[in-house]
Symmetry: C2
Subunit: 337 residues, 2 copies
């Protein structure tokens, strides 16, 4: 497996992305193509020790900045590291692309160059979030706004296929994010989607409320991308806020400071377990290929994990499974309907 990494993407690029790539090739049986400014990458690689047969450089002269719009970046920056990385995945020179750069641009580039899977109307982002018992997948985490019930159905099917392939779970529990457990609770979108999901041939466990998403009751939680993005970011913001507020309270009580020293390793462990970047980023599902979009603040470990997950997805051909599953469902629905 060979992964094309957008070496220039992310808040700490290229140093952090390159460090992640070196960790990945040292730890796993795969190769990484570092895509970006050849000179800067070579400089960052100097003095580093790594299996040099597993690292190569592909020059790209431009870098997409975090504030750029997808349409403009796609049109004007034809030699950007994001674009070149995805092109390598398209041509087959690489098996997958990974970027921690501008996520809107990465998504648009993957969609534009690799194209949608057959039978997929709207590709979606599958984000992994921590729960009390481990983690769950939230789909769509922000690729689409104003979804139709048919889109939510496909998100559920894609999430199901992805979860099965990557986590080796035979029947992941799929839930629909809503404002009450009964099928009559929700908005126009979720009420219709509920009916579709019940007949989708997946292990649909019904609606899940906001307060229960972290309980571990569901493996895949399906929602419109506008809501998914808000849920993802509210969670991120709240977890940080809770720790900040807790810390402020701790230093305010007499025994707090010494107590804080004693629990500090626990806070570190907690942060580690709940840091999304540990899971290595979010794949864009429903495209003709494998592309993972990582958090801009990704650590080297997050990049390493994203490279690993992308190679797993490519090896298991998750995108083909998704195309087949959705295709079979379309045929079955036509025959029955």
């Amino acid at each position: 497996m060979k992964i094309a990494l957008d070496a220039m993407g992310g808040d700490f690029a290229p140093e952090m992305t390159i460090a992640g790539a070196l960790e990945a090739v040292t730890e796993y049986d795969l190769e990484v193509v570092l895509v970006g400014d050849k000179q800067r990458i070579s400089e960052a690689l100097r003095d580093k020790r790594y299996p040099s047969d597993k690292i190569s450089i592909f020059h790209a002269a431009e870098v997409v900045e975090m504030h750029e719009y997808p349409s403009t970046a796609l049109r004007k920056k034809r030699d950007s590291s994001i674009r070149r990385a995805v092109e390598l995945a398209k041509s087959g020179e690489a098996d997958a692309a990974v970027s921690a750069g501008n996520s809107g641009v990465a998504m648009a580039t993957a969609l534009f160059l690799l194209g949608k899977s057959p039978n997929v109307d709207r590709p979606a982002i599958a984000a992994i979030m921590p729960s009390l018992t481990g983690f769950f997948v939230l789909i769509d985490a922000g690729a689409n706004v104003d979804c139709k019930p048919e889109n939510l159905l496909q998100f559920a099917q894609m999430g199901d296929a992805y979860y099965k392939a990557i986590f080796d779970v035979p029947n992941p529990r799929i839930a629909l994010l809503s404002i009450g457990e009964e099928d009559t609770k929700g908005n126009e979108l979720t009420k219709v989607a509920f009916k579709y999901l019940k007949n989708a041939g997946i292990n649909f466990i019904g609606n899940i409320e906001g307060k229960d998403i972290f309980s571990g009751h569901a493996d895949v939680i399906v929602c419109d991308g506008f809501i998914g993005n808000i849920v993802l970011k509210v969670s991120e913001g709240l977890a940080e806020t809770v720790l900040k507020m807790l810390r402020r309270e701790i230093v305010n009580v007499a025994t707090g400071k010494i107590g804080y020293m004693m629990i500090k390793p626990a806070i570190k462990n907690f942060k580690k377990k709940t840091d999304y970047s540990e899971y290595g980023g979010a794949p864009l599902l429903g495209i003709n290929g494998t592309c993972i979009i990582s958090h801009g603040r990704s650590s080297s470990k997050a990049i390493k994990n994203a490279i690993k997950v992308s190679s797993e997805m490519a090896r298991k051909k998750v995108h083909e499974t998704i195309a087949h599953t959705l295709g079979d469902f379309v045929i079955k629905t036509k025959v029955e309907g």
Copy 2:
């Protein structure tokens, strides 16, 4: 001021609601009518010390259970404690109603009996949530799904009027919950609502992303009720999850248990500051009267606070301010448009 309290509503009723009422009349210059089963209330009051001229009982034979549907409860339980409490607020025998019972039924009853304010299309729930710098108001927190941009405009205007009246802030900062700060980011609903809010004569500070809602940058955050309910419940669920996970990590490190003992008072303080029930419940704004819906798990302090806030709202005639503000806006828009 005289507040009608649904004494039978809430997970720990009537003991907890009555305790809250007694705290309220002891602490504040107001009266409470305890609405519900006369015998049970009398029993709960026995041996209690309180200013008896400030507490009265209004008998209601029925109780709405937590799982009941609004339409059925409204039609069939005409002698329920929720309904009788709202009726007292309607007839003028009380100045406001408070219920910690079935929130859907409380909302529907208030809407049905008191009616909508002139010029309000959809009444909305204004929930108070903790932030890094204090708190903010989330509107709509669950009264309406499938909102139109016009509804979001009115939520912003109602939130503005409520915030000004209750917190004595001249120009509360109003933000629109979306998936990016720029006005071009969002879904169909928020993109149009953004334009309306910019011209609403309020201190509109633009879009706010999920990760920033707890930062303290906005005083009032406006969104569709489906999303508001999910945000409210995700936050509730996540705060609990963070504390649980943190505790699990703490007892797993060598010095954790003793450290935990030392920070325990801080955790208690944190919980107190972030417990929504401390703020006393959420008013339904946009109706002809004052009605506060409290959390089912309300403590006596939460009930006391809800009673206090409802009397403040009634004294300041917030519902009339809302009717006037929205009416003036309609006239102004017609003249200008």
